[in-house]
Amino acid sequence: MATAEIKAVIEGLLLVADGPVRPDRIALTLEIEVAQATVLLQELQEDYEHSSRGFALQLVDGGFQFRTRPEHAEWIRRFRKSRPFRFSRAALETLAIVAYRQPVTRAEIDYLRGVDSGGVVRTLLDKRLIRILGKKDIPGKPLIYGTSREFLELFGLRDLTGLPTLKEFNDLPPDMLADMDVPAEEQISLEDGPL
């Protein structure tokens, strides 16, 4: 097959796919090298980027997916008769903590937010945005949480490195830092720090 023809087939596959498509699945289907599949997908991505089409090819969770343009959101919501959903601040804060500090325990989330976050954690689990990674190997073996594929898909992230950079506030002045006397458990949570 000529390259142009392969690209056309890939477009068709992307159209019928039910989620982001990884290069290896394209390669497997078309019996080409993964490297070639990757290059062709990136070329397609650029083609769409430079055209004024109503949708673009986006890299999400390691795969490629056609997504409509954010500036058309309102028209599409009207078309689908859907209301824009809103995340509560509690949900967003908790998501942010899980995303940047994973693997993280409920106790760490509660401490960082300063409030009991059990309800929010449960909601985020129900929505599949966070998942249980296992248990932490400390006394009490608390459950540890991390973000899910659904999280990456919802926020349109290629992977966790695509998260917005965490703003670095000026750290404590040196004299205060020297004073730091954090209980042992908290030190653990600080060391596990952002990605």
Binding site: L15, V16, A17, D18, Q58, F66, R67, T68, R69, P70, A73, I76, R80, S82, P84, F85, F87, R89, A90, L92, E93, L95, A96, I97, A99, Y100, Y111, L112, R113, G114, V115, D116, L125, R128, R131, I132, L133, G134, S148, R149, E153, L154, F155, G156, L157, L163, P164, L166, K167, F169, N170, D171, L172, P173, D175, M176, D179, M180, D181, V182
Partner: protein, 253 residues
């Protein structure tokens, strides 16, 4: 009093404190503790008088502020002050506030991303579901789904006792599997080794029950060379019938 703030919107004491610090243009690295405490207490008084559902954490923070304030008021020993060994009582609070502020801002950044179903949309394709009868792989699935599925089943069966015992059952099950896994790597296991690293009484009991269960299911056998010598656990495949007394002699059959 100019409390023109949406009292219901505070997500917690840290959120409220940050708000007060910003509103009164305080220096977060050098918080005037008396002033912030007064502001904070006044705000939660208003919240109380409005019968807002005041989470316990707000009161805990009030106590913390008062504690810090009292510590700051303590006269500093001159020698101590010279050595500067006394930590600033505000340090941990400041650290928490800064940390919280990072995530509060990160939350706003997350919300600004093009969200699927809100800002961007994809083709709505039907979800494939199947038993994976052919060569296709299964999609990874979360632990949460697994627990939820089990919980649903247990509820549907009205098996109320399961809730109580499942925790213990699971740990016996864990032990059984650990023992089986060990036995798959080596043919025998000393009873004493089984309890190595076991600390709590509960764990000893669980280990013992797991062992009995294994013997009962004939997945393992207990043997010893003579009375009072150490007890060995053998996987069913690794049993040498001749050299050792059978498990019956231990009275578990």
């Amino acid at each position: 009093m100019p409390y023109q703030i949406d009292l219901d919107s505070f997500k917690g004491p840290l959120d409220l404190l940050l708000h007060l610090i910003q509103k009164h243009e305080m220096d977060i690295y050098d918080i005037p503790i008396a002033e912030i405490t007064a502001q904070y207490l006044a705000t939660i008084e208003v919240m109380k008088s409005l019968n807002l559902d005041l989470a316990g954490e707000f009161l805990v923070m009030a106590a913390t502020l008062l504690l810090i304030k009292s510590r700051m008021l303590l006269p500093r020993d001159e020698e101590e002050a010279a050595e500067e060994t006394e930590p600033d009582p505000r340090t941990e609070l400041v650290q928490r506030l800064l940390e919280y502020q990072r995530y509060r801002d990160a939350a706003i950044s997350l919300d600004a991303l093009p969200l699927l179903g809100r800002d961007v949309f994809v083709r709505s394709a039907p979800e494939p579901e199947g038993d994976g009868g052919d060569e296709a792989e299964w999609e990874p699935v979360g632990l949460f789904e697994l627990v939820a599925a089990f919980r649903q089943l247990v509820q549907d069966n009205g098996d109320e006792s399961v809730h109580e015992i499942s925790r213990e059952r699971l740990s016996v099950t864990d032990r059984i599997n650990q023992i089986l896994a060990t036995l798959s790597e080596r043919s025998s296991l000393a009873f004493a080794d089984l309890l190595a690293g076991v600390v709590s009484r509960n764990e000893v009991v669980v280990t013992f029950l797991a062992m009995l269960e294994l013997v009962k299911m004939r997945l393992a056998r207990l043997m010893q060379n003579s009375r009072d010598s150490s007890i060995w656990l053998y996987g069913v495949d690794g049993v040498d019938d001749n050299s050792l007394q059978q498990d019956e002699s231990l009275g578990y059959s």
